[in-house]
Amino acid sequence: MTWRSVMISRPANLRRDKFALLIEQEDDARVPFEDIAVIVLNHREITLSHSVLSACGEYGIGLFSIGPTHHPNGVFLPFLSHSRATRVLRLQLALGKPAAKRAWQTIIQSKIQNQAKCLERLGKPGTERLESLARRVRSGDPDNLESQASAAYFRALYGNDFHRGQPRWINAAMDYGYAVFRAAIARGLVAHGFLPALGLFHASEQNAFNLADDLIEPYRPLVDLHVTEHSFGHDVDDLQPADKVALVNLLNVDMAMPRGTTSALTSIEQAVESLARLYEGGSAELLELPRLIGLALHQYEC
């Protein structure tokens, strides 16, 4: 069972030491590959060998690279690691329009409900309006209630003069958080044999992660909630290392799932499994999507 995220923010040399990742800095440390879900390479001076990449493929670890802007810009994923990859691919291609539209409806409802929950947690107005919008989403969201809800939601969160394109701390933090979740979801999809390029709703030819962009929607309000709670008192617009750590750590925040409360990382696994059941011919009601409950970190039994 994978449960660890490893984030490397200082110069380091990564090597494979049998079944463990060896991190060479002033002092060396070993982390068993078996326990790792994601590795974030958050510094320019990190070197790693082919055997580390190969181990990431072998153990299904998502490895993120960081671009010059210090945002995750790439993810290394296992190649057709699932034993039935071709079968899942055929199911993906064969999914009918009606089923895809109903799944998108469920996802958007869940997203808007989480947005409402986010506003409620922050004591902002507009919760009832969003909940009413969530109830009115129809199959395939033909009325585009998603964008109506988002417009109202971002206005309620950050005021009328806020745009997602502005170079502000809030936007940088949201972009970073979304990128982390997108890559974690892509990792879950690949582990279950999905080709992430084939989406339910998103269908861009230039996007290799259409399906991840579908499934990320209910998770976005979790990032928003964290970003809003931490959005005060930044003299610079850039993210600081501690901000990035906190954003990656959102993968360990508790979310409510139909089968009980679990960390966001585990909830992604469950959501992807439920998606697999949908492709197997199940209905959209079977989709298990997370409900936002707050920012409490998941506690493993100890």
């Binding site: 991190i23 060396d28 440390a29 982390v31 068993p32 078996e34 750590v245 493993y300 100890c302």
Partner: protein, 102 residues
Amino acid sequence: MRMLVFFDLPVVTRAERRAYTVFRRFLLNDGYDMIQFSVYGRILNGTDAETKHMKRLVDNLPPAGSVRVLTVTEKQFASMKLLVGLPLFQEKTVNAQQILLF
């Protein structure tokens, strides 16, 4: 929680030394860290992991000697007092946190 493995193995004959090396290598490869000589510990995430690693341990036991295992909660492990000596770097960094920073 943590699984702690304590062992005393005979190292007189060549075959015994070999069995000792194989067992110790198994522990390291299965993610155990050396806490002291002959005392190894592994972090576990829940009872499923305990079952899994316990089975692997039982499958890789040496033929002779003495091996003991004790599973304690993270809280109990953290309450261990170091009377002489300091904690290792590995112990301090690779802890029960879900996110590890380097």
